[in-house]
């Protein structure tokens, strides 16, 4: 059957033009960018007939390509960071980005916590830094169009190296403060050396009413016996189209916990690509999504058990109000040799109104014969009997609903060890609930 070449959409044409004008200006290896963009351009924006994007048709959702943001002025950057609210109460090493550009002046490189090294990505790309060889730890991510776009356009970011136990959380704070729609493409590489541990906070925020188009990639290479705790929050403005990817490779006996909390964006898609590269590693990957109005939030997950004896747990909770849409796609892959794999994946959605919808697609691809794998997906409304019980004790209906929604999402959040971070996430849930009543 002959391939049919489709007309390019305005967004696709815009991306081609953007790449043509940017490619000579962007730092680093032009060849790898050109290759990634060529791969992207061959198929264009993924649409509903592309299996992985069936429920998130980017060709339809992305009407036009926003221009890439320039470097903010010092005043603009300072104001943007002063107004940043996400996880503001958590004491952490701040690694801030404004309009997709790393704000190196805000970091005291001479006073970093012991075991932490930070290299600005733009400089590293320009100079051909050694660590660049470790970018893109998950080879098959290169087939993903969202990831290809990031590789094509990534202009800035940081590379972090963690050696030893680091107590102070590291806060990757992304703020977009432009008042007209802009695109950003950042890449963060985190090298966690053997036996090191770190807490990474990642927040994304922007103002309402502007259709920003961030495309962010965080890549973590966790060595043997490492412990990585990752907390991400999407608090983008209500018109943003936010694409993101977390790519993680785990060594022997590595421990990973990751949660993505979504309250912002008109359209969001968070992709997690996890790879178990050493035995006896464990990952807990969670999501807590709250959408209302006509918001669309997609969580797509591929967990590859490439080594035997590893354990993965995924728990994704989605609360859908009004006419919003939730998507969960999760795949666990267990190749022949990955015996004694233990994987459990669960997606649960709560529909608060009649107009909402949820698309659940859990998948298992198991080629080994001695494994324990399970997946589940539920979709329901608040339990009327529980509501009555709470109301019979005096709680007004909205309050009773809020308590039950908090309990529902709380299950995905409770594993967060850091009290202030967990409290901040709980406060985010409470704030979302207050806004609906």
């Amino acid at each position: 059957m002959a391939d049919v070449t489709l007309m390019k959409t305005p967004a696709e044409t815009g991306l081609v033009q953007a790449f043509e004008s940017a490619k000579t200006l962007l730092p680093g290896n032009a060849e790898s960018r050109a290759k990634a963009f060529e791969q992207f351009n061959l198929r264009g924006l993924p649409h509903r007939r592309v299996e992985e994007f069936k429920y998130t048709d980017l060709r339809a959702l992305m009407r036009e390509a926003a221009p890439f943001a320039g470097t903010p002025s010092a005043v603009q950057a300072k104001e943007a960071l002063a107004g940043a609210k996400a996880l503001a109460g958590v004491s952490a090493l701040q690694v801030p980005f404004v309009n997709g550009h790393f704000m190196r002046d805000a970091v005291r490189f001479d006073a970093l916590p012991e075991g932490v090294e930070i290299v600005p990505l733009a400089e590293a790309l320009a100079s051909g830094h050694d660590w660049l060889a470790r970018l893109s730890p998950i080879p098959w991510a290169a087939d993903n169009p969202v990831y290809q776009l990031n590789t094509s356009f990534m202009a800035d970011g940081v590379m972090l190296r963690i050696a030893g136990p680091v107590e102070t959380p590291i806060h990757l704070r992304f703020v977009t403060s432009e008042t007209s729609a802009v695109a950003t493409a950042t890449r963060v590489l985190v090298l966690v050396e053997d036996r090191a541990s770190v807490t990474l906070l990642e927040t994304h925020e922007s103002g309402n009413g502007t259709g920003h188009q961030p495309n962010d990639v965080v890549e973590i290479i966790a060595g043997d016996e490492t412990n990585v705790r990752h907390v991400r929050m999407n608090a983008e403005g209500d018109q943003a189209l936010a694409l993101s990817t977390l790519a993680v490779k785990m060594g022997t006996e590595a421990q990973l916990t990751s949660i993505n909390v979504v309250v912002g964006s008109a359209v969001s898609r968070h992709q997690v690509f996890a790879n178990f590269d050493g035995e006896n590693a464990r990952a807990q990957i969670n999501g807590a999504t709250m959408v209302k109005g006509r918001q669309h939030a997609d969580s797509t997950l591929v967990v590859e058990h490439a080594a035997p004896n590893c354990e993965s747990r995924e728990l994704f909770k989605t609360v859908i109000d009004d006419e919003a849409t939730g998507v969960f796609q999760g795949k666990i892959i267990v190749p022949h040799h990955a015996q004694k794999t233990d994987g459990r994946m669960m997606s649960a959605a709560l529909l608060l109104a009649d107009g909402g919808s949820m698309n659940n697609k859990p998948e298992l691809e198991i080629f080994a014969d001695d494994v324990q794998c399970a997946h589940g997906a539920t979709c329901g409304q608040l339990d009327e009997d529980l509501l009555f019980y709470l109301m019979a004790r005096g709680l007004p209906k909205k309050e009773a609903e809020s308590l039950l929604v908090q309990a529902f999402l709380g299950e995905a959040i409770e594993f967060v060890e850091n009290d202030t971070v967990r409290d901040a996430l709980t406060a985010t849930v409470e704030g979302w609930l207050r806004a609906r009543s």
Partner: protein
């Protein structure tokens, strides 16, 4: 005072209550006994305000206020408390969080200020001690993994903290062993007062040895078919409900 006049209730086209009349005076403990399916639990749910029931006729007045026009939370704030036959488990909601939310919601509805945390904890500890509820139980999610006895004690704890004026005990004795029955009954008896009345729904006379009623009403086919003093319960225990079932058939 609770007055129920000519209450007619159906659920999914099935008539459950057929013109029920009942008055419970302030300070009175009224027991309702009756065979399975006579409408006892329906009566308790309709007083508390559960949505599934359709009230076709009649009224329920608590101190002159028409309960049927109120939402369940408003009824609770007005003084109604239903101790559930099967208390619900609420995963993810800590018992203490729930208790505090309930107390403060009712105080707010009545125009009173919220309790301070130390004051709240003091009250909970005092009431929990009396009901032999260990502190770690209060730290757990509400009713999750509680035994039958623990769930019922938790209901009475809520009753003690919320200080309602009209309490309904819906088969509170079901699933209780002898010790738990004693603890729960003592908890209820400690709450008896001149301005608080109780509607005790039970199949068995056993509970009424511990919570001695002022009046006993026999319910059959959705109405009260006989009323009397506490001796009526003993008579039922001896003779069963057969007499009243016959009247149903007639």
């Amino acid at each position: 005072m609770l007055e129920i006049k000519n209450l007619v209730v159906q659920i999914e086209d099935k008539r459950i209550l057929n013109g029920l009349d009942l008055t419970v005076n302030n300070g009175e403990v009224a027991a309702i006994m009756g065979p399975n399916g006579s409408g006892k639990s329906t009566l308790s749910y309709v007083i508390a305000g559960k949505e599934d029931y359709e009230v076709l006729d009649g009224e329920i007045l608590l101190d002159g206020q028409n309960l049927l026009e109120m939402e369940p939370d408003q009824r609770a704030a007005a003084g109604v408390f239903l101790a559930f036959q099967y208390p619900l488990e609420i995963p993810g909601v800590a018992s203490m969080t729930f208790l505090k939310a309930a107390i403060n919601a009712q105080r707010k509805a009545r125009g009173e200020g919220e309790l301070t945390t130390p004051d709240f904890i003091k009250r909970v500890n005092a009431a929990a001690g009396q009901l032999e509820i260990p502190k770690d139980m209060l730290k757990r999610a509400l009713n999750v993994g509680f035994s039958g006895g623990e769930k019922k004690r938790m209901e009475i704890l809520q009753m003690a903290l919320l200080q309602p004026t009209f309490c309904i005990l819906d088969e509170t004795d079901s699933g209780l062993d002898i010790d738990a029955l004693r603890i729960v009954s003592e908890g209820v008896n400690a709450l008896r007062s001149a301005d608080r009345s109780f509607l005790v729904i039970t199949h068995y006379q056993r509970l009424l040895n511990h919570i001695v009623p002022d009046t006993v009403h026999v319910m059959s086919s959705g109405r009260i078919v006989k009323s009397g003093g506490k001796e009526l319960a003993l008579e039922l225990e001896a003779n069963g409900y057969a007499d009243y079932r016959e009247s149903e058939a007639a």
